[in-house]
Symmetry: C2
Subunit: 89 residues, 2 copies
DNA sequence: ACTTGCCGGTATAGTAATACCGGCCTATCC
DNA sequence: GGATAGGCCGGTATTACTATACCGGCAAGT
């Protein structure tokens, strides 16, 4: 066996993560944030819209730094155990 | 341009992350931890040895949970700003 | 109309995640 | 002490996915 396709749960987790990032960006220019995180705007847009459901660890860490998001909230959102996100959506 | 190769900095970050994970495992069986995190033993071994320098976000989160490692420490180690790791190596 | 900003589709190099192999140690057990 | 087993390692192969780029389109604001 090699590299199974992503499970629906993982895709759903990616969607939640994207929604959190988009909400945290809150009006700032997408390209500006992407540059601050050291990734391309295209990539950030795909992460936010959930089309890149499972990005690299470093990618998310850098984004969290650029957006001033605590790492724990990112992790909690990915796991689906984030309560503060629900209130926001 | 498409997908540039990983920079030496990213590879070094992967090595640090692997060293932290291996240290945190501390004697537990590799296969047992991998199973607890929901990944294959082969994958965990490659992450620990630094041969998978930039794993997925979810992969690291699950490993941190299986090893009881705070997410912040994982992030700090990846960034190279972890002080507690230095004391351990 | 023109700009700004986001969107989905498409294409592509490089990587993640998985699996199998043989080898190398270090114990442990006839 | 030679076989046997447990655990790690590097090399290799394969598939799905990331990260990036370019395109045309669409809506809102100027």
């Amino acid at each position: 066996m090699v590299r199974q396709p992503l499970t629906p749960e993982q895709i759903e987790a990616g969607r939640r993560l994207g929604a959190l990032l988009r909400h945290a960006r809150a009006g700032r220019d997408l390209a500006e944030v992407a540059h601050a995180a050291g990734i391309s705007p295209e990539t950030l847009r795909k992460i936010e819209t959930g089309r890149l459901p499972s990005p690299g660890f470093g990618t998310i860490i850098c984004l969290g730094e650029a957006l001033n998001l605590p790492v724990q909230e990112l992790a909690a959102t990915w796991r689906g155990s984030d309560l503060s996100l629900e209130a926001v959506l």
